[in-house]
Subunit: 356 residues, 2 copies
């Protein structure tokens, strides 16, 4: 079994901690460890380092290698440009298949937070077993905790208790980010999971599906396959990538494929999509403050304070996100952290590149 | 004419900019210049530097001399401990009288903000003329702009148009910080000024009044007078000061004295008592933000941002006070900056002396 970690994120929503040179997964916003370090540590009981592949952009590779010294450098796969998840997964599948033609691959985002590591690994192991038994595309579902509109929803079909795990089901349909009313209806009806963006399948199975649903991408991948390991590899990957459209594996393949299974998981998952999400999953004091760094609160509560190096005093305020770095300070109303990207856009427009 | 600047303030309300070693008047929170520098510059057209005396605590003297190189070092009068304004003014009066027995002295706080410098000097000059013509104790009044409960109120008596200035009045009564209802009644009735804490009198006149109303203080001052300029001066001042009760010149003398005049002033005055007061007097952008330092606001307004060295981004917040220094960050609801002293107390209780 191989693991493929997709580490192409830019992480503008975690500004000012995340920067162009230092996206979210390379940061330690959650823990003493960086997020990618946690992601790797989490799957190490299932997959040895020489079978962990990481797909990333060129200017993040050096830092990634520094943070993950046990991963062989040849396992770092460079994407010349970001084209969403379908090309990324296709490229990784080529590498996996070249090494072990019939291998199962776990596809994992680099930057999620998982509360219950053991439960997570049990679900992955079940999904891997299901994937190894045929050519199914197996998704990891997440039991919804509310009518979130930021995730895709997977409608579970018939139970497939003989596929890996008692929880494994067929998939009736996949709905990309629904409006609130629809999300509420899904929850009321039951039998829906969030799409976690984690998948398990044979490399050969996903390449076959790409051939069927994204033939142009498949053609490009075949060109890359010819060049893999030769001195033309970088040039061909660059050419193929720049010609591809950006497309997610969800829209491009999963929503159309027939043989899809889901293993619903329940392991305290968060995609850590924003500072608000970080507050949600963080431990809090009795006033609801999630604090990193020296802190004094006078009648202050329900806030995230992320200031490892500097004393922060809050007086008479609630529901704030406060993030302090060496050169910038963010103060954001809790619930508004999606708008942090507007700050990043604004900095770009003003040419203040040193803050990007 | 002499000027005596009282620079004994601790300025805990301007934490984290103000510190034990660096009280408000030594800071540049308002301008490129420090507040004491502005205070001195403001009276220079009226009083030459060799006649400006500054009363301060021992551990602020060196910084004061550094900031005010034109003031002779012997004009810095050290108070061994703070005992409020009456002992401070008495000590300064001794120094003034020793140099020029019949001199008029302006008594000025070190840390106020004056918007209209020319109007201010015209009022001071008129008050000085009134003081020079007899033994009156002349206070500078401020035309009230609202029913503030943080100031004393001076009830004006009969006009004294022959005393210095057409606006000069007798004083009917002085009311220390009144409750809100009373303050409103004063404003409705008219003929009240705020007590600015600025006074003008002959040194001999205030010493005579101290003798009458604060005889113990006067006794101590007479001991100091004997020792002035001898090698016993420091020792005697230390002994006398430690034996005195803390008492303000307002409570100790002004509220009891007979021959009191007031010159009402109207020169955009603020005692800069807190970060809220600083926001009030600061220039603001179209969203009501008073900003010092690089700044990006996304749907943010009516806030004070004081961060000379670091980019601050506000997202979806209003009515905040944000103050950033090298080692600490304050975020306070606007209107709550009186509670900043609670932060300072809290730091003291926790033994976090490095932040005090």
């Amino acid at each position: 079994m191989f693991a493929v970690i997709m580490a192409g994120g830019k992480g503008a929503r975690f500004w000012p901690r995340s920067r162009e040179k230092m996206p979210k997964h390379l940061l330690d916003i959650l823990d003493e460890r960086t997020i990618i370090r946690e992601t790797v540590d989490r799957i190490r009981p299932l997959v040895p380092p020489e079978r962990i592949l990481i797909v990333t952009g060129r200017n993040h590779a050096a830092e990634l290698i520094r943070q993950l010294p046990e991963i062989p450098a040849e396992n770092i796969i460079i994407e010349p440009v970001g084209r969403n998840t379908a090309p990324c997964i296709g490229l990784a599948a080529l590498h996996v298949r070249k090494r072990v033609p019939d291998a199962v691959m776990l596809v994992l985002p680099s930057d999620h937070r998982i509360g219950d590591q053991n439960a997570f690994r049990r679900v992955l192991a079940a999904a891997a077993q299901a994937a190894s038994e045929g050519n199914s595309l197996v998704t990891i579902g997440i039991r919804p905790t509310g009518p979130e509109t930021g995730y895709g929803y997977i409608e579970q079909g018939d139970p497939m208790p003989n596929c890996g795990d008692a929880r494994t089901c067929g998939v009736r349909s996949i709905h990309e980010k629904p409006p609130l009313e629809q999300a509420k209806a899904f929850l009321k009806r039951g039998g829906f999971s969030w799409n976690s963006g984690m998948f398990v399948w044979k490399a050969s199975a996903i390449l076959k599906a790409i051939k069927q649903f994204l033939p142009e991408l498949h053609e490009g991948l075949m060109q890359i396959r010819e060049a893999l390991g030769t001195d033309r590899e970088e040039e061909v990957v660059g050419k193929v990538y720049s010609a591809q459209k950006a497309v997610s594996i969800d829209c491009g393949v999963m929503e159309k494929a027939e043989d899809v299974l889901v293993v619903p998981g329940d392991f305290c998952w968060s995609d850590l999509g924003s500072w608000d999400a970080l507050w949600e999953v963080s431990g809090k004091d009795k006033n609801g403050n999630a604090v990193r760094g020296p802190f004094i609160g006078i009648d202050a509560g329900d806030s995230l304070v992320h200031s490892p190096g500097k004393l922060v005093a809050l007086v008479g305020v609630r529901d704030l996100i406060v993030v302090e770095t060496d050169d910038a300070l963010l103060i954001c109303r809790r619930g508004r952290s999606q708008d942090v990207r507007k700050v990043v856009e604004n900095l770009g427009e003003k040419g203040l590149k040193e803050y990007l």
